[in-house]
């Protein structure tokens, strides 16, 4: 990965972000309703004049192009606008939700990889063995059982019946690490169960393909044990395509996993996005979706970077130095 490649990717990413912002802006305004209607819909005695006055105070009666221009220029100056409902600056609402989302993503990913990678390797060491069959079954379950069912099952067992873990809430890791671990355990496990399945299956398939390669036969021919052949020679090559799946998964998780956040009252970015959609809180929603898009783009950039590290052939091809 050289400087020219990075610059090219950055420019492409910026264009994608701009297009994303435009699509979000337009789609939101097409949807029926607006923040004023939602805000005052429960308020008795509000007439059309009050609605119009409120829309005017929010600048929602300006031409769409003017609204978009103001918002876009505000982004460049760090003015992300204010929530129409709470009047809080968007960043005040958004920033505190980023870390819980990141934390949940990291925890789920660590658990998923800790299970999926060794399981896939072990399944490849003994194909069609007991472990391979068990691992394949677990992977199928993970892909077919909806996350909310897993969540509910864990809550019933660990919170309601055994009273071992709290069913909902959030405390930051640095404030109370013990409590944080208790609170993150079930949401992370729920997510890990879902995301480990495709990672495991993909890696298992990549390993199967890798172990059919001629260099593996050479390694075997040199007298290496099969388990060592799989771990030391096949696995690094199988990791590369698996990284793509991991990258896509991380990108999606960083956009917030609404179902998990709802069930466990986890204050992540997903809940903020869904709430903003139903309230039509354009200001918050536009920025939140952009942040999710940025997270996705950054993740794919990181994945590309890791490709270069993991695969020396790519480095040599792009002229990168070690």
């Amino acid at each position: 990965m050289n400087a020219r490649y990075v610059v090219r990717r950055l420019i492409t990413s910026l264009v994608m972000l701009w297009l994303t912002s435009l699509v979000i802006f337009v789609v939101l305004r097409i949807l029926p309703g607006d923040p004023v209607t939602t805000m005052l819909g429960d308020v008795h005695g509000v007439d059309a004049q009050v609605l119009q006055q409120t829309r005017h105070s929010f600048g929602l009666d300006r031409p769409l192009l003017a609204q978009y221009g103001s918002w876009l220029s505000g982004l460049f100056t760090g003015n992300f606008g204010r929530s129409y409902f709470s009047q809080e600056p968007v960043q005040t609402l958004l920033v505190p939700r980023i870390w819980p989302t990141v934390e949940l993503t990291i925890a789920a990913l660590v658990l998923a990889l800790a299970f999926a990678v060794p399981a896939a390797i072990q399944a490849a060491v003994r194909p069609r063995g007991v472990i391979d069959r068990v691992v394949t079954t677990i992977a199928s379950l993970g892909m077919s059982v909806p996350a909310f069912l897993t969540a509910i099952a864990l809550i019933v067992v660990f919170s309601v019946k055994l009273k071992l873990l709290p069913s909902s809430g959030y405390v930051s890791l640095l404030r109370d690490p013990g409590r944080n671990l208790q609170l993150i355990a079930m949401p992370a496990a729920t997510l890990a169960f879902s995301i480990s399945a495709p990672i495991l299956r993909f890696m298992r398939a990549s390993l199967a393909e890798a172990t059919a390669s001629p260099y593996i036969r050479t390694a075997e021919g040199k007298g290496l044990r099969w388990s060592r052949v799989v771990r030391r020679h096949a696995t690094p090559n199988a990791l590369i395509p698996t990284l793509t799946v991991v990258g896509l998964t991380v990108g999606q998780l960083l956009g917030g996993v609404v179902i998990i956040e709802y069930i466990f009252s986890w204050p992540g970015i997903g809940t903020l996005i869904i709430d903003s959609v139903s309230k039509r809180d354009y200001a918050v929603l536009q920025v939140a979706i952009l942040v999710a898009a940025v997270a996705f783009i950054v993740t794919t950039l990181v994945v590309d970077f890791l490709y270069g590290i993991l695969d020396p052939r790519l480095k040599a091809r792009t002229g990168a130095t070690a």
Partner: protein, 514 residues
């Protein structure tokens, strides 16, 4: 080797950045001391759904904001648990013979949480704030006939009205005395005179309150109180069962049976309710511009089955379509009952021109109020028996609102499911139809009666006026009222001192745990 060193470096940098971000962000903590639920002097109150986006007590737009307003702010008067109007920041009041001039004596030595003294001038500012049309305050209709408010001394407030109002003290219970000078920062300071002061507020997530030691009235028993939002009601109910929540507001009626069987959980409901589950109709568009069609729909509603199947047996059947609860002293029993009768429904629909084969639309919210959908399905089956098709459409909340709000919109052939939180004072409950109902119904005789009720100083005379007004809406059926009920509150049996108002709003001012 270089590859693994690079990977390790990436891992170390990522973890450091992540930990630094974690340092900066603790405001989303949903537990104040690492242990949710019951703790000495601490209570966690939960609500499901959305809506707590602002602490401004005079622009309340959601039921979830009401309990917080009661804890941070006071009014000049308050409604007690027995439904009577009691002194608040105003200790006594007198009225002129024509009921147009009221003089309130305010308690002296009351301070805001910020330390500033509360005076009659603050009362004036709050009343003017509510009356200012640029602030969308639904409390405005309580004082819409206010001519002027003046502070003759620091503790004397004089209110002059355009028209007489015998119930002004009751109306003023709905206007909170915020610190108007800093109302722009109310989400940061929550500056009121109430028994609790604001420690932290994260919109749509949680509010953390602590006892205000210099409170002018009876000190709160709790040291801290946390109001925690749960995005999902099922999750919130689990939290209540496991002890993470002490109190939960907004329990679905269909879940009350299950909660009643849960050990250590009690259902808290008011003796007198003032909420109504309603079907709103556009009385200016066909077919419901014809009162017979509205009456027919009411006859087609099998309220008893809906109550047992969809509402867990809660609520009182409202077969007269009255917005005044049957247990309310102001309720008049002399009304026609529109109990379930499909033959009458068929006849009246026919007379109104609604022939068999007609399709009506039931308009409800997706993801909330599952009981409304169950009720719609019961109605759908019954209407099918008389040849009328009912399409049930669930919409997300903004789309749901857009169809019928604000008043004046046309929605022909649509039955909108809704819940009205009304006052337990009949005059203000009846005023609902006189103040711009989305049903687009307006009757000058009815409006005049409501105004007359407000002006009548005599309880007996007022009750007679209520009766006339109720009989009009009984005949006209501007909306179909299914059930009278209140938002349901469930609490741990360790919670004491909690009571709910007629609309289900929990009062936690004197709550304790243990």
């Amino acid at each position: 080797m270089m590859k693994w060193n690079s990977l390790r470096l990436v891992a170390i940098v990522s973890t450091s950045v992540a930990l630094a971000a974690g340092c900066a962000s603790s405001s989303q903590d949903s537990e104040n001391n690492g242990s949710g639920g019951s703790n000495n002097g601490a209570l966690t109150y939960g609500y499901a759904g959305g809506g707590l986006t602002s602490l401004n007590p005079n622009t309340i737009t959601s039921g979830s904001e009401q309990p917080v307003a009661l804890l941070l702010f006071d009014s000049l008067t308050k409604i007690g648990s027995d439904g009577t109007t009691q002194p608040g920041l105003a200790t006594t009041w007198t009225k002129s013979a024509d009921l147009k001039t009221w003089t309130f004596t305010l308690k002296s030595g009351v301070h805001y949480h910020s330390g500033r003294l509360f005076t009659a001038q603050d009362a004036v500012k709050n009343l003017n704030y509510v009356l200012d049309a640029s602030h969308a305050s639904q409390q405005r209709h309580f004082i819409s006939n206010l001519q002027s408010a003046t502070a003759s001394t620091d503790t004397t407030l004089v209110v002059a009205l355009k028209t007489p109002n015998a119930l002004l003290p009751t109306a003023l219970a709905n206007i909170y005395m915020a610190n108007i000078d800093t109302i722009g920062q109310v989400n940061q300071n929550g500056d009121g005179t109430g028994p609790f002061k604001l420690t932290q507020f994260v919109p749509d997530d949680h509010v953390l309150l602590s006892q205000f030691p210099d409170y002018w009235g009876e000190k709160a028993k709790l040291g801290t109180l946390r109001i925690q939002r749960a995005a999902d009601l099922t999750s919130a109910m689990t939290s209540l069962r496991t002890g993470s929540l002490d109190v939960l507001w907004g329990v679905s009626p269909a879940d009350t049976d299950q909660l009643k069987k849960t050990a250590n959980v009690t259902i808290v409901q008011p003796a007198l309710t003032s909420g109504s589950t309603v079907w709103e109709l556009d009385t200016t568009s066909p077919p419901f511009n014809n009162p017979k069609a509205r009456q027919a729909l009411s006859y087609a509603a099998d309220r008893a089955t809906m109550q047992s199947a969809a509402l867990g047996g809660t609520g009182e059947l409202a077969t007269t379509n009255d917005v005044v609860a049957t247990k309310n002293p102001g309720y008049t029993p002399d009304q026609v009952s529109y109990g379930f009768d499909l033959s009458k429904a068929r006849r009246l629909f026919t007379e109104a021109g609604v022939k068999p084969g007609t399709t009506l639309t039931f308009w409800t919210i997706a993801g909330r109020h599952p009981e409304w959908i169950s009720m719609a399905e019961i109605l759908q089956q019954d209407l099918a028996k008389i040849g009328i098709k009912l399409e049930i459409k669930q919409q997300e909340v903004s789309t749901w609102l857009q169809a019928f709000f604000p008043a004046g919109k046309k929605y022909p052939g649509v039955v909108v499911a809704n819940f009205w939180n009304l006052s337990s004072v009949p005059a203000y409950a009846l005023n609902w139809y006189a103040g711009g109902c989305e049903c687009n119904w307006s009757d000058p005789t009815y409006n005049a009666l409501v105004q007359k009720a407000l002006q009548s100083p005599d309880d007996t005379a007022r009750k007679a006026i209520y009766a006339q007004a109720q009989q009009i809406i009984n005949q006209q059926v501007p909306s179909v009222v299914l059930m009278q009920s209140a938002q349901i509150v469930a609490a741990s049996s360790k919670v004491h001192g909690l009571w709910t108002a007629s609309d289900g709003t929990p009062h936690l001012e004197q709550a304790s745990v243990g």
